[in-house]
Symmetry: D2
Subunit: 259 residues, 4 copies
């Protein structure tokens, strides 16, 4: 019986919480985790957007409302999940807080109010989600791989390199990476697997008609865009790693990307 | 005439702004910069604390009140400096936002309100100070080394490595490093020297009686503590580098420090 | 049909070459790759050591003699593999060159002859193996994931951090990492997946009697040692990644390891 | 009396050894160190080339023959220096081993013989020079800054990032960085300051007629080339740092360089 077989059998006991509800990574995760037998909660500020309504048709997926930059809202989300689905074993924080108002904008022109909102929505929400997840996971019994739970922070290449014209975004992504690293050193010896996964790519997801789409309408999806289904698969592999060999940071990057 | 000679003569035209007003690095910078002929502004939330009152007795040093986490306060600080001392050519952001409430505290126990305040006081204030400094410096004429101005972010080893039990501090320090890197890539080609200087050490400053002191009363200053006078000297050297050979990141670390 | 299913079917066409023939990672890779349907070549300076003789009993595994620090020997190995098994699609370089003579030895005491031999056996052999692998793989047809081949360099934590008392080992590991990075930037856009995998752990492999063993006799295998079967599984996952989302560097580390 | 004043007076006791004898950084270091009152040895494979003959006219500078890739030659160099000038307090390793045969060449095309020679000439010679320097410096009495000696490794941006088409050079530069880091962790607590200084730039030195020149004839020196006089000044500042605040790694980069 391979590690994967072992895990597939146990997966029915897994409860996944995905914070952030876009059509890319979050949706791919929700579908793959559910297909692997997990009970899946997907949370977004507005849970009524069509993407989430659609996702909920997948057996095992439930949607939740949560403004992840608010301490009380995040606490309440996790309490609801515990009550309805059980204590989480896999949590994905998938909010990057990127907004057009500060992206590709000179530091001299960036609006401080938007910069602070970016920090709150991305890095601070990661802190809140990570904190709630850690509190609950520490109470879990280790699974067959010795893991009490896995917390994955989706990140961007701006976590690795501060690019020009995006100071506030660089702050938020670096902050999230720093948080993940601190949590990894603190919680891995307590049985919680922490991962920081910078995606060094644009995301181009598959639509129902088989064509691929990008966040910005009109942007053609090409060979340099990451397929979020592959990202979800990498997350599942991270969750299934035995604690003798955990990866903390994995940068996923298309073959033709410059770096 | 060496580069240093050249600079000493020009230093009388230099205007330095130091944001953060403690007895360690900020005070050492204020004294050294003034002694080198600069006009020096030192800003703190409470400018009436004895340290700053004392510093103002140094010829060339003036103290200013500024809550650096408030956009309007930072803008007003820089406008006052320009009016009284002239446009800044050297700006040091020297606030790390470390507070006892979140330091050496498990992620599960850290107060979110304090975590967010740390991000604001440290990283967001760096954004505000960097933004105002950049706006003014871009208007400067390059000096003999080709530099329109130098912006230095004092940082901590938590900018390089997320330590356990300090998630919020790791976020803030990483965020500041990400900001600095983004600003460096954006502004260096426009003639502004940006530096991120993680101090991988406790600070032990010299007191008037010749003994050394540390932030926490009762902590003995030993050979493993950094002398802030040496840090100030490193900052002055950074400011005086020719733009053909700028250093962006310099980690200063005592000889006996483990890393 | 998932990505894994797709790959399992194709795996019979995969030809793996493992350079380095110890009882840990190399053996685990040979067994897992063969079990996944690959034809496997395992090469060591002395192919007659019991470990390799034993491995050859696994269906699909063949052993080869190769001093990987010799250009002609490496070229000849790959020619033999192509002739007998076919062109390689997965190559693992698994030699770290660590020898007791220079490990935990002051820089002032290390024997230069041994230091140079370490560079040759580890880093230079990686160059030779990588070069031969790249030449052959560039001729391959991309598989269903768009991959012409995968080259994995097993590395150590000394690739990430130069530890005291191990200057020559730090050189060799850093060199291997630099090579891997250069090859990644050069060959990934040509369809070859390059990975550098520092194992931040001692290795403790399972013996036939179920107990675990370590390279040094008498060292007890504890919870902080990596299971090479898990490392082999991570390598297989790397080989199976779709080229839209390749990982270049993955550090594998036990949960209780300090870093 | 500032730290610089203090040091200038002591500089007459300083003995500098520069290994590598080109017209750029080595020559600038020799001139600046001699002008600062040091006794300077400059060593090159061929000490009779015009650059070194010329340098020897500078008071305080002596040239030595040394093939730094040969253990016996390096040992002999340092013994000669000790006998003639005294024990070294500042050693600069300034050989990057870059040769046209492997630079900008596909990994599939690079000649293994040249690759190995690059490793030997650059990284292994750094090991030999560092080892001899360390042995001697450990016997020194600390100077006023607490420093027994400073060993500086000139490096290239390939130490930070493995660029395509330069696998062997990436290996050599990474190896040198790994060595420097290991030596820093080992020797700094023993009073020897180790520095790794990647120069992320082409070098354009000043010629006697005031124009600037580059290693490759016909390459125009522009604003993006580093002035080696400024690099030498940075090295002198590193040597003069107090041990309470040593910098280990300093990347020097022109203002307009992309990174």
């Amino acid at each position: 019986m391979t590690q994967s077989d072992r895990q597939d059998r146990q997966a029915s006991q897994d409860v996944a919480v995905i914070v952030g509800g876009g059509p890319g990574i979050s949706s791919s995760c929700a579908r793959l985790f559910a297909r692997s037998g997990m009970r899946v909660a997907i949370a977004a500020r507005n849970p009524d957007k069509p993407v989430l309504q659609n996702l909920e048709k997948t057996p095992g997926v439930r949607r939740y409302a949560c403004d992840a930059s608010q301490p009380a809202a995040v606490e309440s989300l996790f309490q609801n999940v515990v009550r309805v689905l059980g204590p989480p074993t896999l949590v994905v924080h998938n909010i990057d807080g990127r907004v057009p108002e500060i992206f590709r904008k000179a530091i001299t022109e960036a609006d401080p109010v938007v910069a602070l909102a970016t920090l709150r929505n991305s890095a601070f929400s990661a802190f809140l989600v990570g904190q709630q997840a850690a509190r609950l996971m520490l109470e879990n019994t280790p699974n067959a791989n010795g893991t009490k739970g896995t917390i994955i922070f989706t990140n961007a290449s701006a976590a690795l390199k501060g690019f020009p014209l995006s100071g506030a975004f660089a702050m938020a992504c670096h902050a999230k990476a720093g948080l993940a690293q601190s949590m990894a050193r603190e919680l891995m010896p307590q049985g919680i697997h922490i991962a920081n996964v910078p995606i060094d790519a644009a995301i181009g997801w598959k639509q129902e008609d088989g064509t691929r789409a990008h966040r910005l309408a009109g942007v053609a999806v090409d060979d340099n865009m990451a397929d979020p289904d592959c990202i979800a698969e990498a997350y599942l592999q991270l969750h299934r790693q035995h604690r003798s060999t955990w990866a903390f940071e994995v940068v996923l990057r298309p073959w033709v990307e410059k770096w």
